[in-house]
Amino acid sequence: MRAAVIQFPGSNCDRDMAVAIREVTGAETALVWHRESELPANLDLIAVPGGFSYGDYLRSGAMAARSPVMQAVIAAAGRGVPVLGVCNGFQILTEAGLLPGALMRNAGIRFVCREVKLTVENSQSIFTSRYQAGEEIVIPVAHHDGNYFADEATLDRLEGEGRVAFRYAEEVNGSARNIAGILNDAGNVLGMMPHPERMIEAVQGGSDGRRLFEGFIREIA
């Protein structure tokens, strides 16, 4: 298996993400700089990591979404290559148009950095098959702009099509319908604000994030 983790100026979860992917899936994982216009060949997974790409200038993820490497990521996603965006990565995927909606300033204004309870809504995707639907898991969040917004019609469609992957089981940031993570219509792109790569072994305080990567290798094997 081969994976790539995209690095932007200001990314800070890129190495954690690469370690999690290597550790759990054994994938050969390349770090790819934002100025690249091509990705390594035959990728099984592209991860867009957390952080503060381009200093969050203009809007979180706005500049990164227009970088050369993202044109390659958009093209790969269109061919069905799995793409996982976490935190700033989720913001970048919405800004790039790979996922609907937008992530706005947290309703409480404050940066939220703590473990939160999530409910798994969809356990049928390539990213979530090792979870049970309705199961409660604990994964940390660390964000200022995690307040998911989309118009009512889009929210209804996401729910109707089973594209809400994770929901907050507690109030975190004011997200519409407590949405914490969503899938694209083809199911190969997942964006989520919580950080599964920070919960892959007991020493990190829990391993509920590990199953996302375990499920992924099982599904694509």
Binding site: L58, A62, I109, G174
Partner: protein, 77 residues
């Protein structure tokens, strides 16, 4: 030439920053403020040949997020 682009949140989109500013104004004793919405002003210095259409494209492609924001373009000359 200079052109100003105003980017504002669409009606109905909650603006926590505007709310915080509103509370701060009340805390300073200013009365009669009904609501505050925060936006962004982008000032672009450019050649005379840049058209209105090009500015609109800039807004749609980068300056505004059309899911949550509106834009207004003001040519200053």
């Amino acid at each position: 030439m200079k052109t100003r682009v105003f980017v504002t949140l669409k009606n109905g989109v909650l603006d926590p920053q505007g709310k915080a500013i509103h509370h701060a104004l009340e805390g300073l004793g200013f009365e009669g403020v009904n609501d505050v919405r925060a936006g962004r002003l982008i000032e672009i210095d450019h050649e005379p040949g840049v058209s209105q259409d090009q500015f609109e494209e800039m807004c749609r492609k980068l300056l505004a997020n059309m899911v949550i924001e509106n834009f207004e373009i003001e040519q200053k000359g």
